[in-house]
């Protein structure tokens, strides 16, 4: 059984969109001013030594235009080596390997990949897929990299209707630029009140 970690770079108001995509989002690469060596090391460590990736199609396409050509670094090497499990209706057009389609039933596909023995699965970016994962209770860990800025627009991590959950704070650290990286384990549904 694999552990599914959701790792997101998120604004104080919950936005995880970082590129303009096709919806006119005006703050592309808004996290850039906050990047520090300490932050990079913390994010790399949070991913772990080796892992596979679970990605939505849009994030996969953005990343496949960047990481294969990126200079070697622990993060680039690990991302390029990871098997990319991609939620897509067009698996024949995938190019950045190694990859596998998740299959037409995304929730079932993720359950199947999770049930295998193997490396941790990291899900990052991919706002649509992440919503699906959270709504179906498939995430085991949530690693939030919180930036000290409100954006007021953009795709958000948590959709209304995400089931209520308790979590446990495992660790937290702040970078010199004010980014807080916190690791949470998903503990379970909330107890009913009353």
């Amino acid at each position: 059984m694999r552990v599914l970690k959701v790792i997101e770079h998120i604004s104080l108001d919950g936005v995880i969109q970082h590129s303009a995509d096709d919806d006119g989002f005006p703050y592309s690469d808004w996290g850039a001013p906050y990047r520090t060596p300490a932050g990079r090391d913390a994010v790399t460590a949070a991913h772990g030594e080796s892992f596979d990736l679970l990605l939505g199609r849009r994030t996969y396409d953005i990343w496949s235009g960047f990481w294969p050509k990126a200079p070697s670094s622990p993060m680039a090497d690990r991302l390029n080596a990871a098997t990319k499990y991609v939620a897509t209706h067009r698996p024949e057009s995938l190019g950045w390997g190694p990859f596998e389609g998740v299959g037409p039933d995304i929730v079932e596909g993720i359950r199947r990949v999770k049930s295998q023995a193997g490396r941790d699965l990291v899900l990052s970016g991919s706002s649509t897929l992440t919503s699906t994962v959270l709504q179906n209770g498939l995430a085991d860990e949530l690693i939030l990299i919180v930036y000290p800025v409100l954006l007021g627009t953009g795709k958000r991590l948590f959709a209304a209707g995400t089931p209520a959950r308790s979590l446990v704070l495992v660790s937290t650290q702040a970078t010199p630029s004010g980014v807080i990286l916190s690791t949470y384990k998903v503990a379970g549904p909330l107890q009913e009140r009353g």
Binding site: L12, D13, G14, P26, Y27, W30, L134, L142, L144, V146, P148, V149, L150, L151, G152, T153, L157, F158, A160, G161, T162, P163, A164, R165, S166, L167, V168, L169, T172, A174, G178, V179, I180, S182, Y184, L190, R193, G194
Partner: protein, 196 residues
């Protein structure tokens, strides 16, 4: 004076009804009181006392004011309680009248005068204008970029919907992280100061 917004907030940005089941059940919110188990007196108690000590006003939305005015006046004997009962209070409301106000001293601010009044107070000398709860009012303050400090107690819970303080107006507002404190309960008290 400076505005200081203090909120108990879930990972998904909800601030509704942290303190009690019947505090605010708008839109069928069913998790009232969710924040109580994350309170850590060792980490949080002294912090709120100290900020209150530096504050010369309390500003609230109508609902938070009414919940507070029903609870605080009958209490006494600790620094925060004594401060909140003594301090100058402002409530933003178009419906309350002078006879509704029994928690003194309180001044009613009408909605149309709200942003101007806050701007004027921020131009005066004095300590913080302390705010808690009051989701609707805080959203208006953030939308107007009238927030000087944001003290978020971020709690390890996802609520799946409820009132938030964050506006969706597309205006980016940068803050500096001033300090963080980790509570034994997994809550984190994060103090942000408007970057200018």
């Amino acid at each position: 004076m400076k505005t200081l917004i203090t909120e108990f907030i879930s990972l998904d940005g909800v601030v509704q009804a942290p303190g009690g089941a019947s505090e605010d059940t708008d839109e069928g919110f069913a998790h009232g009181g969710w924040s109580m188990k994350y309170f850590d007196p060792d980490v949080m108690g002294g912090m709120f006392d100290k900020l209150a000590e530096q504050s010369d006003a309390l500003m609230q939305g109508r609902r938070t004011y009414q919940v507070s005015a029903a609870a605080w006046p009958s209490r006494s004997g600790d620094p925060f309680t004594d401060w909140i009962n003594r301090v100058q209070k402002y409530v933003v409301s178009d419906t309350l009248t002078e006879k509704d106000v029994v928690w003194n001293p309180t001044t009613i601010i009408r909605g149309a005068d709200f942003l101007r009044t806050v701007s004027e107070l921020r131009g005066q000398h004095g300590g913080y204008i302390y705010v808690y709860g009051s989701a609707t009012m805080v959203r208006a303050l953030l939308a107007a970029d009238l927030v000087d400090e944001l003290l978020l107690t971020i709690e390890p819970i996802i609520l799946g919907g409820g009132k938030t303080i964050f506006a969706s107006n597309g205006k980016a507002i940068p803050f500096n992280l001033e300090s963080t404190a980790k509570a034994s309960t997994g809550a984190q008290v994060c103090r942000y100061v408007r970057a200018r």
